[in-house]
Amino acid sequence: MSSGYKPDILWSPHHADRYVICDTELSLYRIGPAGSSETKAGALPLSEETAATLLAINSDTPYMKCVAWYPKQEPECLLAVGQANGRVVLTSLGQSHNSKSVPAEKVRLSGDVDSGLVVTKPLYELGQNDACLSLCWLPRDHQKLLLAGMHRNLAIFDLRNTSQKTFVNTKAIQGVTVDPHFQDRVASFFEGQVAIWDLRKFEKPVFTLTEQSKPLTKVAWCRTRMGLLATLTRDSNIIRLYDMQHTPMPFGDEVEPTIIERSVQPCSESIISSFAWHPSAQNRMVVVSPNRVMNDFTVFERISLAWSSTTALMWACGRHLYECAEDAGQGVAATEKDIATKMRERAQLRYGHDTMQVWRNHMLAGGDDPQLRSLWYTLHYILHCSYTENVEQKQQSNKQSLIYSGIKNIVKSSSGTTETRHCWSGSDRQTDVPRYHSEERSLALQLCGWISRGPDIDVEPFLKSLEQEGERERAAAVALFNLDIRRAIQILNKGASAEKGDLNLTVVAMALSGYTDEKNSLWREMCSSLRLQLKKPYLCIMFAFLTSEPGAYDAVLYESRVAVRDRVAFACMFLNDAQLPRYIDKLTNEMKEAGNLEGILLTGLTKDGVDLMESYVDRTGDVQTASFCMLKGSPGEVLKDPRVQCWIENYRNLLDAWRFWHKRAEFDIHRSKLDPSSKPLAQVFVSCNFCGKSISYSCSAMPHQGRGFSQYGVSGSPTKSKVTSCPGCRKPLPRCALCLMNMGTPVSSCPGTGKADEKADLTRDKKLAQFNNWFTWCHNCRHGGHAGHMLSWFRDHSECPVSACTCKCMQLDTTGNLVPSDSV
């Protein structure tokens, strides 16, 4: 439409849900929730939640220049319209057309007499000889009016005395508007520049906002929020907001104004014609585009946010807080879980603590991560080998360390390799596949888990366990690599006939049985081309093995879908001394680069292993696995690495942050068993009041108390009563503040804990009974007594049990009042 009639928008001063759009006509809209029964079919959607219904249209007043609502309650919907021809018309909208409550439907207030209607005389005439561009009432004083005139000035008139005025020369004379929350603050604009005035110091603007490239069309203060000014420039899709919570006081010192500039795009790309702040809803506005598309829009405050240590997100928007807490629900795909959640769950399940059957730890970790599975099996085999080695040959410490140093180093130290050519079992044909043997190679095979300890290579137990776990393809491949083609076929057949078996396996078995070592046979030709279509990696490498030339097993060795463990075992059997280290080195570097835990098999728990683990931690952040894995290393070596210490510290810190203090303590115990150097020293000593010597031997009723006494030359049998005195000077120990017995007297029963239900858990009672005897005291008032007595006292009281002591012993430490989250 014509550029002269850009729609403008006005909120009703009384109905928070009504507004008027005026361009060539006046249209009254009511805003309501979208989709509700109230809004009719013709409602225009304003946003996702709200829609507008057209209530009335008034097209009686063409050539509108400006519009204003009648500010009083009655009559409602009375509007004053200023027209291009200089007339001001009062008109009404909606139901008031036929309502008697409106005394005059059309009142003309202009010097134009020919209309013949009510003509009023101006009450005041101000600012003669000057065209008024904008004006506003000053809310502080209802008799004052701020006028912006053509002659580049702003003037304040007092209606009680019209001759009195204060004025200032300025270019910024358009759109004067008073901040509703700070009534001395006024904004006006000129072209692209907004000036902010303080009426108490009217000589010059307090400050001006950064100039826009295009001329401004509207400037409006937010009605609900202090110091938020919205500005709009011509042909723009952006509303600029200026947040000026802290403007300098006109009489105060010189402070740089803190203005936060923001911009919003209420209707993405389309141009905004005008906007209006909602009179009551927080930061809400309705925006209208030149073609009358309306948009309900809320300006969000700057949101500040924070994560808690337990993955809850808190954010503050305006005056409100929102928390988004994680719900420990079941059934989430494990791959989608965040590592923080995973580590917490694993810590709860005591992941890493199974020292008897180390491989079981991967089950505790959820059992669905192939890398963790491989890692814990590797550690299991390493520890197993090292243990049996220990039992059998204690003197050979060299080999002991070799076990921990990974297959890479084992293979390097290999010597005395023998080459044999075996028959295919169950077939009399001689193969030309050379197989290599050495002591180190069979150690490597042990670490891969293919064989258990023993002089001969017997994979049968391994095959059986694989079959039991349902890994039939893998079992078949292992059997085949041990040149037992009959066993491989047998495994596949069993797999096919088993419950939920794969019938394809029979076909594969059939294909296998046709094996021939003739170079140019059809079988060979077909197998080498068709094997690529096999989806299962183990079936694929079986045929790859059968169709390859001896020594050229790249198709097997570089099949990345096959477990590293099996590829390495294969390499140890079929690669010669020149090929093997090269292949292992290459694979090790690959694993290190990728941070793949399967590579721990190759690197062992050495510096190489730490390097690999570092890239794993870099990638995943899983310090839990890193800590537990490195703790399994042979004492001293890897644990001294600063990186390992760093992971352990970080993991302990995580447990602390989650309040998994019991788990942290368990971890520390576990750690000190494997790394005795990490044992913390005693932190507190209790010394006797009289002689100053440590009384730590006597206060715990431990069996070694006798030794303690004999040290101090007290011969004779230590009787029970004597633990109540200092072992050094024989003076009695302090008394418990509650039972008034000397410390060291065992607590018979705690007062106030004789409830029936507490007796149910006997083991728990027993554990606690030891603790009840402990000597505790408040660090603030130094009163104390038996731990059990103290705890039961503070269950009901907040002040110290000693008379006239007002110390609130138990509340002194806020952290002490936190409950560990893993206690249940």
Binding site: G35, H246, E256, T258, R262, S263, V264, T298, F300, E301, R302, I303, S304, L305, A306, W307, S309, T310, T311, L313, M314, W315, A316, C317, G318, R319, H320, L321, Y322, E323, C324, A325, E326, D327, G331, V332, A333, E336, D338, I339, A340, M343, E614, V617, D618, G621, V623, P642, R643, C646, N650, A657, R659, S798, C807, K808, L812, T814, T815, L818
Partner: protein
């Protein structure tokens, strides 16, 4: 399922900052109403306001907790040009019985001549140290030599960044291989002044902080900055809230320990998102630095997560008022992480595991919501 819950904050003006303590059981908020509130999580996971007091004579911009091993200590900074250290005390009144705690002012740091825009405690392995930055471009590092006496703080370092500072972040790494490091962001909007993020590193030899790096590619005003929890990684990750969300990776290049020159870094941009459309106000990392939350002028909180290949993706959008982004009535209030999107899907399609990992998880959650309503 992650559902946003509204908490009646009862602040009289805008809340500028929220901060959790080490354990996530306490929370502090600060506001333009010049007051601060401390919240404790009750047994039923509800937040109870246990302290509310007027702190400054201007808007309180930021609030932060010290590590609990230094006691219950808070620091706040304000437009009134000061930073204040607060400590909770017990034992003198019966406040605790009424569920109220008492915080007293231990010290007021008045060195700044302009608004103090950010305040942060240093990582705990460095001792009890506090850093402030102010609009006049000065970063100040204070130390409490005696942790038992919080009324004495000595100004240890003053770093002049020459640009109006808006935010600071300590590198949380406790590894001895990493020297103490602090990143400073500036909200100066003049792009010609160059990089708006400066990184300072402590030099053992000179015992001073020296500039180690300026991120020259960040030329727009920076509103927030956050080092990711290091967790034993060999590199540092820095999230920056400017006109977009940016994630930088700083890989320290090996240097010989004898040299006194600052560490050189290989700086990589891991990700850059402009989906907030406009200014980004805040960024925050979760404890393992695997999730990043950001808030921006679009009024949304967005969650970002990296897969194992370091590809960062948006995994959740929450509207600032907790309402659903999709606009479906009665829909989920919010989805955190792709895990959750999956989860909500599972709740509805518990028997259908075929639809597992659609590329667009947000769409998925909206879709599931929508279906959820239809089936009801």
């Amino acid at each position: 399922m992650f559902v946003a819950r509204s908490i009646a904050a009862d602040h009289k003006d805008l809340i500028h900052d929220v901060s959790y303590d080490f354990h996530g059981r306490r929370m502090a908020t600060c506001s333009s109403d010049q007051s601060m509130k401390v919240w404790d999580k009750g047994g039923n996971a509800e937040w109870n306001c246990t302290a509310s007091w007027k702190t400054h004579s201007g808007s309180v911009w930021r609030v932060t907790w010290a590590h609990p091993e230094f006691g219950q200590v808070l620091a706040s900074c304000s437009f009134d040009r000061t930073a204040i250290v607060w400590e909770e005390i017990v034992g003198e009144s019966n406040d605790k019985q009424r569920g109220q705690s008492h915080w007293i002012k231990r010290t007021t740091l008045v060195d700044s001549r302009t608004s103090v825009t950010d305040v942060k405690f240093a990582p705990k392995h460095m001792g009890l140290m506090l850093t402030t930055c102010s609009a006049d471009g000065v970063v100040r590092i204070y130390e409490a030599p005696d942790v038992m006496n919080l009324s004495q703080w000595s100004l240890q370092h003053e770093i002049s960044s020459k640009l109006s500072c808006s935010c600071i972040s300590w590198n949380p790494s406790s590894s001895r291989a990493h020297a103490p490091m602090i990143a400073v962001g500036s909200d100066d909007s003049n792009v010609t002044y160059g990089g708006k993020v400066q990184i300072y590193e402590y030099n053992e030899v000179t015992r001073k902080y020296a500039k180690a790096e300026t991120l020259m590619t960040v030329t727009d005003a920076v509103h927030d900055i956050a080092f990711a929890p290091n967790l034993g990684r060999s590199f540092h990750v820095l999230a920056i809230a400017t006109k977009d969300v940016r994630i930088f990776k700083l890989v320290p290049l090996r240097k010989d320990s004898s040299s006194s020159a600052p560490t050189k870094f290989e700086v990589q941009v891991l990700a850059q998102f402009d989906s907030h459309n406009s200014q980004v106000w805040r960024v925050s990392w979760n404890i393992t630095s695997t999730l990043l939350a950001s808030s921006g002028d679009d009024g949304c909180v967005r969650l970002w997560k990296a897969n194992y290949m370091d590809n960062w993706k948006c995994t959740g959008i929450l509207k600032g008022d907790g309402s659903p982004v999709s606009g479906q009535p009665g829909a989920l209030s919010g989805i955190l992480g792709s895990a959750t999107a999956q989860r909500s899907f599972h709740l509805i399609w518990s028997k259908d595991y075929k639809v597992h990992c659609l590329p667009d998880l947000i769409f998925l959650s909206c879709l599931s919501d929508y279906l959820y309503i239809l089936f009801l």
